[in-house]
Each structure stands twice: as structure tokens, then as C-alpha cells.
Symmetry: C2
Subunit: 139 residues, 2 copies
């Protein structure tokens, strides 16, 4: 892949969480993650202006402590499970370490959003936020 | 955001689709997208080795024709809808134009995967594939 194009991800904000080590973080956000703040850059304040408390959103992060050279891994580090190609796992270790997190919005204060259910650790760069899509009729 | 770190996305493959123009593409994959191939780089063949026909997966793309300077947009280009911050929409135009697509795997042939329900246009870079997460008990 040496001659392929590259694309540049620019962080739009940062996770603020009591989780500071990857080993502390739950495997998924619905497995005991503490409340966390999404602290957005002032430059993207307009992009978050319609996010409301009580809704669920998808948060995309850049898992900057992950390994990008891992293609096969053992799910949940469980020695009783067979290894799997990383595209069949949610492991942070993968060629482009983008985290995908479904979280609940609890509060919005200026350019900061308090969420429940985010397992990313403190300082993780924020890449994008998307609404959870309902059925076709709701769009 | 001038002094912030940047991260580099390396395409892991490319979309092959009869859709060649953004104006042709349906708004979402379940609104009439034709079958498409995910053509992966040989270097990541191990990462896809456990993807099976009949399953649903999440595909992440880099929407390289999108505008990155748009923060507010009108959903579905509908003049009867109020403009929304892009983080409350699935518009391709957003600071980091990552597409998130839930698709059905129809066939796997070597490093190529045939999927239904992908609205991305021909030549769109592939960034990642993730399993759809079931309930906690299934993980």
C-alpha cells in the first residue's frame, strides 16, 4: 500500500474521562464505562449545535494508542477463543484505529457534551459524531 | 485547530460500484443501493479472513469527494427542513468525511467481498470493517 493516497484526520475535540489507561477501560461502553465529556474545539461549535440531551449518538474516535500492524487477534484477549481477523472484531488494534461508540447524551454545556457509555480513555481524539439512524420513515 | 496533531488514514481497499456520481447515490444504503464489491488490498487479506456470507457488517469509508468545511447543512437537501449542525446529520460533508454503512455480505471471493446496501460511489476508499455488535451476552 506504499503508493496509495493517504487522508488526514483532524481531531475535532478530545475525550475527558476518569479512564486513563487502556487496561482500565471496559471492552464496550455498555459494560460499565463512567460518564465522560466530549470537549469539542471551538472551531466546530456549529456542528454540534443541534445535539440534545436524552438522545443517543454515534461517536467516532481515533484510538491513538492502538497498534496499526495487527491483522489477526484473539477477541477480548480470551485464550479460549480462536483468533479472528481484526475486521471481525472490535479490537482497537487495526489498520485504521477508528473507534465507534454508541453513547447517550446527558448534558450539553457550550462546546462540551456529557455522555454515558463511552469506554474511550482520557485524551482520545474525537473524529466525528453521527445520529443513530432510525427506520427509513423517520429520516 | 492549526497546532493540533493529525492522523493518517491509509485506505485498506476500494469500493467497486455501478454508482459513479454522488448525485446518483441513494441517501442511505437501504434506499435502493445496487450490489457493490469491497476490493481489499492484498496486504490486509488476513484482516477479512473471518467475514462470512449472510452476515451484516459495518463498513467505514473515506468520502473523498465531500467538503470538509461545512458545519451546518439542510438534511437530505430538503428546503422544507431547517438546517442542522452536521454532527446531527449523515451528510457526507463534515470535518472528517468518514462514511458509516451497515451492509449485508453476499459473497466472499479471495480479497473481494460482495455486499448489498452500500450507497458509496465507485472508487471510494475503504477505511475499516467492524462487526455489528449484538447484546452483551453474545460477545
Amino acid at each position: 500500500m506504499e503508493n496509495e493516497p493517504r487522508f488526514e484526520v483532524v481531531p475535532v475535540g478530545w475525550v475527558e474521562s476518569p479512564l486513563t489507561e487502556r487496561a482500565q477501560a471496559p471492552r464496550q461502553g455498555d459494560e460499565g464505562a463512567p460518564p465522560a465529556w466530549l470537549a469539542f474545539e471551538a472551531a466546530v461549535a456549529e456542528a454540534i449545535r443541534d445535539i440534545r440531551p436524552g438522545t443517543e449518538v454515534l461517536v467516532l474516535t481515533w484510538l491513538d494508542r492502538a497498534r496499526r500492524d495487527v491483522l489477526v487477534t484473539r477477541p477480548r484477549d480470551d485464550p479460549d477463543r480462536p483468533p479472528l481477523g481484526v475486521f471481525s472484531t472490535r479490537s482497537p488494534d487495526r489498520p485504521n484505529p477508528i473507534g465507534l461508540h454508541r453513547v447517550q447524551v446527558v448534558a450539553v454545556e457550550g462546546s462540551r457534551i456529557l455522555v454515558h457509555g463511552l469506554e474511550a480513555i482520557d485524551g482520545t481524539p474525537l473524529v466525528d459524531v453521527k445520529p443513530v439512524l432510525g427506520g427509513v420513515a423517520e429520516r
